[in-house]
Symmetry: C2
Subunit: 110 residues, 2 copies
């Protein structure tokens, strides 16, 4: 049960790394855990794991196990996850258009 449509959406993307996870998984539909952690840089193993798990529970991300040794697991967006990309883009675009680029350590999208 959600208070309203704002909170319902925000609960899914409020996590510190979730927007970026959506962006990464959208850019590369065959992302593995290590690659994701490398791209998100200062995120810790445990936190990334938690955020992914929540996104799986929320139906935004799917986990694919290739049953190989060494372990080979990929993550990709579900339809529902993909549907959030316009929101991700809106957030990205606003940042690029309205934040002084000299105040940005990195520019990631577009």
């Amino acid at each position: 049960m959600y208070e309203n449509e704002f909170d319902a959406t925000m609960q899914l993307i409020r996590g510190k790394w979730k927007i970026r996870i959506l962006y990464e998984l959208n850019s590369d539909p065959h992302t593995r855990f290590n690659a994701l952690q490398r791209n998100l840089d200062p995120v810790t193993h445990k936190i990334l794991s938690e955020q992914i798990q929540q996104m799986i529970n929320d139906g935004l991300v799917k986990r694919i196990d290739f049953h190989e040794q060494p372990l080979h697991i990929e993550y990709h967006l579900t339809k529902r996850g993909q549907s959030l990309i316009p929101v991700v883009d809106a957030i990205c675009d606003w940042g690029l258009a309205n934040i002084d680029t000299s105040k940005l350590k990195q520019t990631l999208c577009n």
Copy 2:
């Protein structure tokens, strides 16, 4: 200094009530503190005050003092605040389109 454009935008709207404040101030450009608190319902006086203050510091909201007794203060969006409305709408639209409406206590936008 921001990590990147995602974080830069999210820092401004991550607060629990900020999206709704943006929405309310956009709907009514002459909003007073009490009215805002009433519309956001379970928000406490102190928290609303904090969130508004942050939004003023971030250049999203402007405070207008009418120098009347009893106090008469109105808040409205700055240009910068208005520019965030497309982001607010994207979040609102996604929620309406993707959350089972029976799980929403209220529907606020559109």
